[in-house]
Subunit: 308 residues, 2 copies
Amino acid sequence: MSDDRDLHLALIRQVEQALEASFRSSAIPAHLAEAMRYSLLAGGKRLRPVLNLASALACAESEPGFGEEDRQTLIRALLPFASALEMIHTYSLIHDDLPAMDNDDLRRGRPSCHKAFDEATAILAGDALLTDAFGFMARTPLPAPRVLEALALAADAAGAAGMAGGQMLDLDGEGHALSEAEMTELDAKKTGALLRLACESGAVLAGADGAHRQALRRYGEELGIAFQITDDILDVTGDAATLGKNVGQDAQQAKATWPALLGLDEARSRARFHSNAAAESLNEDLFGNSPHAALLRRLARDLSDRTF
Amino acid sequence: MSDDRDLHLALIRQVEQALEASFRSSAIPAHLAEAMRYSLLAGGKRLRPVLNLASALACAESEPGFGEEDRQTLIRALLPFASALEMIHTYSLIHDDLPAMDNDDLRRGRPSCHKAFDEATAILAGDALLTDAFGFMARTPLPAPRVLEALALAADAAGAAGMAGGQMLDLDGEGHALSEAEMTELDAKKTGALLRLACESGAVLAGADGAHRQALRRYGEELGIAFQITDDILDVTGDAATLGKNVGQDAQQAKATWPALLGLDEARSRARFHSNAAAESLNEDLFGNSPHAALLRRLARDLSDRTF
């Protein structure tokens, strides 16, 4: 148990280092670089990069003869791609917080980007993080066909049919009662797509076979559902200091949420169901005793535990 | 002469068809797809896709035995990438027009996206066009290492050190007197980088050698300078009906412009100088009698002719 927590912390540390090293180029206007780094380096759990790295490692570790040196080599190769997923996530937070969108002035315990800077700078910082994320991905030093495939999946997950589409559904849905089917679609696009992509692209980049890829895709999908239900529950039961963002925002903005639709108990039970389904999709027949598969299983189970 | 005008129209037609076919998926929320297509299909000269296609074709045509069938095959393969450049350009127009940015309510002769829809939808339509552009690029059916290299260059050209950075410099510079060096840097980032990228990436995608690539990079760079000087001149001397956008905006927003810095005559003479330099960089030693190299030379010369 302590083992996979150490692995988790090691991955977060490597992602932080990679992010810290980014956007220092003198070719970037200083004002813009400052806003990008302000939002990117504001902490956070780095969940998407961790999922990406752990998914690739879980695939690689299930092959015989994969040693510690191979592991460090693979992590180093994956870091541009994994870091790019955090850039995409950060861009989406910056734009979602804008006055024309969710109008949120607190993020990760600090003023959101448009409050710390201004609206134009926040729009551009988001645009630049999104754009440069694809440049980071394209420079991932792994076989080009794998990198291209993973990058195309990332664009799908973040684009019109994915995260951006989900935010559109979210805005369009404000003040309306959404059905369970509508909320499922909204969540699948708004947060689910990128979480699933983080896992599936890890398998693609590791050159995994179809069974491993499918298992990680399933893991990411179930995790995404559990994640969004958990997030909705914590918006009701959590406090701003712990979460680093305003709570009660969903009710204030008349957004449909899982606790409102199902009641708190049923929402908790659903979160647990999907967390378990995620964990169980990484079974030992496929992943042997891969320590990063164990980490992924624990991450899924910890998620719904937070709601109790 | 009529020959290369026909080639030009044929390229524009193929780009229009590719753009028209995009974003019809039912997986995209209808409201978002409508806003994306509203801005993407509003006409325009499709300059960046045309430069991209013509640059690749100019390289391919300078090799012996490249026939009409090869040409059509190459155009079809290039269209996802070329169309993506128009998506990136369109995203930048949508975001630049936002109230927090240049606050422009007319674009290509119609209400700009945030006027036709609303601000949140315009932000998301821009985000989605930018994101999905990388998905289109990644699916370009040419050798993966070439596609990855061209895509990485596109991210650089559009990102923090390129177009997004240029828009930041532009906003930061409003109301200040900029030096010639500052204006040169601003233009190189804001419009120059993507125009140069359109040309250079065409060479990369065609698998061109270093000399052809360098010549097209030079062409794109000189064209970009001529383009921005011309644009500034037309903002003073043009009329809204012809240009499809408001004129006199630069003066109104107290933006530094080339005619203001140099006077109209000197600005015209500079535009002509850089147009000629662009045309001359595609010399016949390298490009033989490639009809698409001839098209590129004419495009460059026509640009500065518009200012007289």
